[in-house]
Symmetry: C2
Subunit: 244 residues, 2 copies
DNA sequence: CAAGCTATCTTGTATATACAAGATAAATGT
DNA sequence: ACATTTATCTTGTATATACAAGATAGCTTG
């Protein structure tokens, strides 16, 4: 027979969090409904107000409750829960499913920036910028093309790197710590060059992620990640997770 | 002349958070580097350990620091910072850019579930499920088609709703509080029916978001959101935001 | 020399206390 | 009857204190 050793109890604040989450999950407490105050919880659970407060604060931080001074604490409306998608590192993603990851460097050059690229990088038109085109492969099949334009002022030795060993993102993170990133996701039709790179025989729609990254010194780089719609998707997962 | 009333000072814990974030942003403290301990911060800022602790704890929760008992607190590695995309409510999104939002109900019926739909909803094959097809319009132009399959056990009166007033997502949230949601994003080529719905004259790639939502009682619904690649994109924004 | 112990640092949990500040309802005064 | 004040409840900030528990360096002992 297995008995739980109650020496290692779950912390009190975690028990209170669990109690609250259970009540919300079971619909005993509905959206926008008021939950017990700090003092009420403290009395119910025989803990100090600060401990009850911790449970409420952490659930508020997690977006499950909302609080307002003088009024009380309420079950957050689901609408306010934003649905998030994660953009993972593609090398890690391939390795996570036991695929064989490899990377081919197609282009590594310095070019003269035409207007849209210069604007996206925040440099002057016709100034020199670095450009790389890599193909990320899973089991020797192209999975994603990464075309990247880099601000040379912030990564002088970009062209000397071996990107089969260290991804551009990892290299850039090390030389110019990132402070901000913006993404947009679109569905596009690849042009013929992209079809070649992705080894596509017939045209098919592709997912395109545009990623711009900032460091404290300015815009570092501007990447275009293109994957065939039949091979790649972005996944997201949102859950009222069990409070540990 | 306008003078800042220093009666309303920013809280001490927020100042400490700002101090830490500034050091990370300016690269004074690098990835995985150790940051001052609770006691050191408490002394530097002349606050109690609990106040310093609050700053460290909240930054840890935000993913900017990592802590381990007995060792110390460290600057989180950027790699662990996941890049997130937000899937917003399309009605809100249209209204946010001052567009005229409207919704057309194309289909509202009960059907017999074929295998893939039955599996996705967790019901038996050939059992009755509800299906709705709506078009979300911006300025009278189709922006997104929402095809949704609903588990009738968890939303009996789904077919009686007026979805031009309340979106299916809002209705379902109210009758079966959601506990979990999963999304995948793909690039697809629309079939002819979808082209009609989206009023597309020539074929173009589309973004397709598949969303499955759970409540505590089981899978509630299964939605397919399709938008033309030329009109719709998902946006994401990740930042080491200024600590309030 | 090596194993084990100890001192000391770290974070983690928990309490009691104090005062500030927002919100609301009841009591009060005109 | 209406406006103002007051009391009371709420959350927010901050401190001082206590002990638990993980990690590590250095000391002690066999």
């Amino acid at each position: 027979m297995k008995t739980v050793d109650q020496h290692m109890t779950t912390p009190k604040f975690a028990q209170i969090k669990q109690f609250i989450v259970d009540n919300i999950r079971s619909s005993a407490w509905l959206e926008n409904q008021r939950v017990p105050s700090e003092n009420e919880l403290a009395e119910q659970f025989s803990v100090s107000r600060m401990t009850a407060r911790r449970a409420l604060s952490e659930l508020t931080e997690a977006g499950i409750l909302t609080r307002s001074q003088g009024l009380g604490t309420f079950v957050a409306s689901f609408k306010s829960q934003s649905s998030l998608l994660e953009i993972k590192n593609i090398a890690d993603e391939v390795k996570a499913r036991n695929g064989n990851y490899s990377c081919t460097v197609l282009v590594l050059e310095s070019i003269s920036a035409v207007a849209p690229i210069a604007i996206a990088l925040g440099v002057e038109v016709d100034s020199v910028v670095f450009r790389s085109v890599l193909v990320h492969n899973e089991n020797e099949q192209p999975l994603q093309v990464e075309e990247r334009f880099v601000n040379p002022a912030l990564a002088q030795s970009y062209l000397q790197q071996d990107f089969t060993a260290l991804t551009p993102h990892e290299y850039l993170s090390s030389v110019a710590p990132l402070t901000e990133a913006r993404h947009t996701v679109e569905a596009i039709m690849p042009n013929s060059e992209m079809c070649q790179w992705l080894n596509l025989y017939h045209e098919e729609p592709c997912l395109q992620v545009i990623r711009r990254t900032w460091s404290s010194a300015g815009i570092v780089s501007f990447a275009r990640l293109v994957s065939p719609g039949s091979k790649y998707r972005l996944g997201g997962h949102l859950t009222f997770k069990k409070q540990h």
